[in-house]
Amino acid sequence: MIEIKDIHKSFGENHVLKGISGKFEAGVTNLIIGGSGSGKTTLLKCMIGLHHPETGSVEYDGREFTQMSFEERIEIRKEIGMLFQGSALFDSMTVEENIMFPLNMFTEQPRSEKLDRVNFCLDRVNLEGKNKLFPAELSGGMKKRVGIARAIAMNPKYLFCDEPNSGLDPKTSIVIDELIKELTEEYNTTTIVVTHDMNSVMGIGDYIMFLHEGKKFWEGSNKEIAHTDIQELNDFVFASRFMKAAKEKF
C-alpha cells in the first residue's frame, strides 16, 4: 500500500500540486486521472522520487520515502517497476538485454536463470521470440509491452504506469490495460496508473483519483464515476459525444 499525505509541489511561481492526500491499495488498479496540466504526472514523479515535493510525505507500506537517504531510496526503488509514457527502452540494447538489465545489476543469478526470467516476462506480455530485436524495430504497442516486461522482471511490489495507452490504437490499449490488471491481481502489486483514457477508466479503474487544477476533486471506483454530480469531473469524463450518449443510455 502506498499512502501520500498533503503533497505540495511548485515550479517557480506555478503551484502544480496543492495538498494531495490519498491511499493506493495493493491488488487493485489505482488510477490517477485529470486533464492536461492537472498535475497527475507531477504527482507520480513526486511519489517515485523524480521530483521532490516541498511538503508532504509518501509512504511505501509505512516506510517514509521523501526523507530517506540515497542508499535507502535505492532499496525501495528495487521494489518499483515503472512503465513510462514513451516506454523509455534503452536504444542500444536488444529486447532481451533491456529486460535482463535490472537482473544483471542487482542479482547474482547465472545467465541461464536470468534468460529463463526474461523469456517468462516476454511470454507474459505475448512477445515470445522477440528477444533479439532492438527497440527501433518494434511497434508502439510492442514497445509498451516490452516496457511492462522490463518493469515486472524484478517482481516489483509497486508498479507505476505513466499514460500506458498514449499513442496506441483502441484494441492495443485494451490489451495493455488488461495486462496491467492481470499482473496487479496475480502478483498483488500496488499499481498506480496515470491516464486520461476513458476506456481505461471504465475498464480497469478499481480506485480512481480525479485531479483538477492541482487538487484532488473526487475519488471512487469506475462504477461510481458515472453517477457523480461534480461538474468538473463530468466535464472531464463525459467530454466526448460518445461518452455523453453512453451516459444517457446508462
Binding site: 523524480l50 535505492i74 545489476m105
Partner: protein, 244 residues
Amino acid sequence: MNFTNFGKYILLLKAVFRKPEKTKIYMKAVFQQMDFIGVGSLGLISIIATFIGAVMTLQIAFQLVSDFIPKTVIGSVTRDSSILELSPTISAIVLAGKIGSAISSEIGTMRVTEQIDALEIMGINSPGYLILPKILAGITMVPLLVIFAMVLSITGGYIGGTLSGAVSPAEYIQGITTDFNPYTITVSLVKAFVFGFIITSVPAYEGFYVKGGALEVAQASTRAVVVSCIAILACDYIVTQLLL
C-alpha cells in the same frame, strides 16, 4: 560556464564517483568506451597529426632562413612543439568535437526520452553508470592517442620537410635527436590526462541536464564542444605555467 553551472558540475562529479553497483558491468562499459574513444579516433588523429607535423616543418624552415641558424634546429623545434603543444592540444580540441558532441547527444537523448529516469527508478546511480566509464576511458585513451599523435607529427615533419627539400633527412634526424628533454613527454601526458577528463566530463554534464527535445539536445551538443574547447585552452595554460 557560470558559477551555478560549475557547482552543478561538481555535484554531478560527486555522484559519478559513487561506488558502482556492479564493477563487472562498469568494466565492460569502460572497455566499450575505450574502443569508441581510442580505436575509433585513431584514423582522425593520424591524418591531423601527420599534416600538422608536415606543415609545421615547412613553416619553421620558411621562417628560419639565416646562415647563422643550423637547419638541424628545424627538427628540434618541430619535435618540441609537437610534443609539448600541438599533439596534446590539437588532438584534444579535435577529440572534443568528435567525442564530446557524441557523448552530449547520447546522454541528452537518453534524458529527453526518459531513459535516465528509467535507470533512476531501477535504483541505479545514473551519473555513475553513464558517465564514469566515459571518464575512465577518456583519461586512459587520450594520453595514448597523444603519444601516437607525437610520433606521427614528428614523422609527418620528416616527410614534409624532406619531400619539399626544406631540410635534408640527416639534418632533420640530427635535429630531433639532439638535446632531447624527456620531461617534455611528462608535461604532455599530464596535459593529455587533464584534457581526457575535460573531453568526457563536460559534454556528459551538458547532456545530463538537457531539458526539452531534439533542438535542446543539439544546442547542448554545441555548448559541450565550445565549453570543452575553452576549458582545454585554459587548462593548457595552467598546466604549462605549473610544470614548465
